[in-house]
């Protein structure tokens, strides 16, 4: 909706479509210049952090997983990592491998959902995934088959496809049998082929000529594309220990939003696929690197609209990695390391599909949670998304309100924000004055 004279335009969009959760966006324009951009979020994660206080440390993975219905494994994994850190426990490598396999399932289902059902319609002139399905049914079926394979991994390893129940601090309640894991091989080979087809498909889309000014931050692991563990690293090569994350990342409260805005060293930054690809592209599985090369993707991508191609490359990586893990699977025995609580502070960070997810807990000697801090990817990315919006809105001022609103929504969608991580309600409002 638009208000105002030619000199002043206010565009308001209520209910950003195809973004997880609900939010609002306001863009203000005066004398041909974008004067203000605000992505509004109304509910802080602080409420959930408060809910964790007084609970037993072993409950954190399941409670936090229910905060976000979209990436529960990410919450479970970051919570487990933080609690094990607090208790001074290092889990068996076989547990780590099984966690990575579970996490690959979440990446596959989340990326397939975003690429095919939420993002691709933007590039093909479709109002939504239904219109895309009517026009290109095989494409949507391929996306849904990929998503099902991700769900299958989550169900097989996690015990349930939607909210895994097999995860605990120290490992798993039960390790799947060898033959059960081996049976994942065939669907994963099909999924990898489908992921390669996805790269070719999205690599052929037309992208608006936009270059973002991004400061990328992602976990980095020397041996593989970081998912379930790694060291926070910037694209300039600087890195720091996860334990220092809480000191280095400053979250500020902004009046218009109840979510916190994160800055690192005083500047906003971006986590997620573009950051991971720029920082860890050299350790992608070779099949994923080749797929990226085949569609002409540079080793660093700064066009946010091309994030769909990077997500597709990560789909190939997740399928290929999962296949390797399936082939090398050794059931952890015991399935979990017993973790005895001790008083202290622990931190954990993992790569959720949409970016870095940090947890920090302070517990007492009985394992009671005294303090919790959760920094979801969307609150870290929010300032950068607003920056994108400012750029996209300024470049699109010659568009009519409808098209400008559409372009702004796309700019938000490029980063796959999970508003329900940072907040339960988000209204999107685009305002022109």
């Amino acid at each position: 909706m638009t208000h105002g004279s030619q000199r002043e335009r206010t565009i308001g969009v209520e209910g950003i479509s195809r973004v997880e959760g609900e939010g609002s966006l306001r863009v203000s324009v005066r004398d041909g210049t974008v004067t203000n951009v605000a992505l509004e979020i109304f509910e802080p994660p602080r409420y959930f952090e408060a809910m964790l206080v007084g609970r037993h440390f072993s409950e954190a993975p399941d409670i936090t997983a229910r905060i976000c219905g979209i990436c529960p494994v990410a919450y479970q994994m970051s919570a487990c990592a933080a609690m094990e850190d607090a208790c001074g426990v290092v889990v068996d490598e076989r547990v780590t491998a099984l966690r990575r396999l579970l996490y690959c399932g979440e990446w596959i289902q989340s990326h397939a959902l975003h690429v095919y059902l939420l993002h691709a319609p933007d590039f093909l002139g479709c109002a939504d995934a239904v219109e895309l399905a009517e026009r290109d049914r095989p494409a949507i079926e391929r996306g849904l088959a990929l998503k099902r394979t991700g769900n299958l991994l989550m169900e097989t390893v996690g015990g349930r496809a939607i909210h895994p129940v097999n995860v605990r601090v120290g490992g798993f309640y039960r390790a799947p049998d060898r033959d059960v894991i081996a049976a994942l091989g065939e669907p994963l080979r099909h999924a990898r082929d489908a992921a390669l087809a996805t790269v070719r498909w999205v690599g052929g889309f037309d992208f608006p000529d936009v270059v973002g000014d991004y400061r990328y931050v992602a976990l980095r692991h020397p041996e593989h594309y970081a998912i379930e563990r790694g060291r926070p690293t910037s694209a300039d090569g600087s890195d720091f220990d996860v334990a220092h994350f809480a000191d280095l990342v400053v979250e500020e409260h902004v009046e218009r939003s109840t979510a916190l805005h994160a800055r690192l060293g005083g500047r906003h930054y971006l986590t997620g696929p573009l950051a991971r690809y720029a920082i860890n592209g050299d350790v992608l599985p070779s099949i994923a690197r080749q797929a990226a090369r085949d569609v002409g993707l540079a080793t660093r991508v700064d066009n946010p609209f091309q994030s769909i191609v990077v997500r597709a490359v990560e789909l190939v990586a997740a399928c290929d990695e999962a296949l390797s893990l399936v082939e090398a699977y050794e059931p952890p025995d015991p399935p979990a390391t017993e973790v005895a609580p001790r008083a202290g502070i622990g931190t954990g960070a993992t790569e959720a599909p949409r970016g870095l997810l940090f947890h920090q807990y302070e517990i007492d000697e009985r394992g009671t949670i005294l303090r919790a801090r959760i920094v979801p990817p969307t609150s870290q990315n929010q300032l950068t998304i607003e920056d994108d919006l400012r750029r996209v809105a300024q470049a699109g001022l010659d568009l009519d309100d409808h098209d400008l609103q559409w372009r702004c929504e796309q700019a938000v969608r490029n980063h796959d924000p999970c508003i329900s991580c940072a907040a339960h309600f988000l209204d999107l409002e685009v305002v022109r004055s």
């Binding site: 195809r18 409670i63 219905g69 995934a129 949507i140 309600f425």
Partner: protein, 163 residues
């Protein structure tokens, strides 16, 4: 058995979170109804898109969710959705209105339209809605909603037994 090879004739899907006060009633009712019937509970769900792949070929899908429509808390409503309807009903991803409790990326109607477009819609879809009162962060149901749980379970089990 896995998602890929297990398709139930009757699928129950409770939407919501037990950490959202009355929003938790859907999964609670679905879990209890599963114990009292032959239906399969695929919840708790938070994204209707997760119904795809779970409801293919089902004779009946029952979606159970807390609702906020302005009637008395605890009111149980059973709404049959016309799975063959051609019209584009409200909902879908365009419908998210400020103040709703939904965090769904694509609404139930949108998912049904999508399923129809690719030939994966269930034969019959019924929504059992339980009017909630409080949707803030926390655990436990409001007294009126708690009192309605057995009625809602009875309604769901009754629907299952008709199949």
């Amino acid at each position: 058995m896995t998602t890929m090879d297990r398709h139930a004739r009757v699928v129950l899907a409770g939407f919501g979170s037990e950490y959202r006060l009355d929003d938790g009633v859907g999964p609670l009712v679905a879990a209890r109804a599963e114990r009292e019937s032959e239906a399969r509970d695929v919840g708790p769900l938070s994204d209707p898109l997760d119904l795809l792949g779970h409801w293919n070929g089902a004779e009946l899908v029952i979606v159970i969710d807390a609702v906020r429509s302005g009637v008395a808390p605890g009111t149980v409503r059973v709404v049959e959705i016309d799975v063959d309807a051609d019209s584009r009903v409200t909902g879908g991803d365009q419908s998210a209105a400020p103040g709703t409790t939904s965090t769904h990326g694509i609404g139930l109607e949108g998912v049904l339209r999508l399923a129809r477009a690719i030939g994966q819609a269930p034969k019959r879809l019924v929504v059992v809605g339980i009017e909630g009162e409080r949707f803030g962060v926390g655990e436990g149901l409001s007294p009126a909603v708690e009192a309605a749980v057995s009625d809602a379970v009875r309604a769901v089990v009754g629907l299952v037994r008709e199949v």
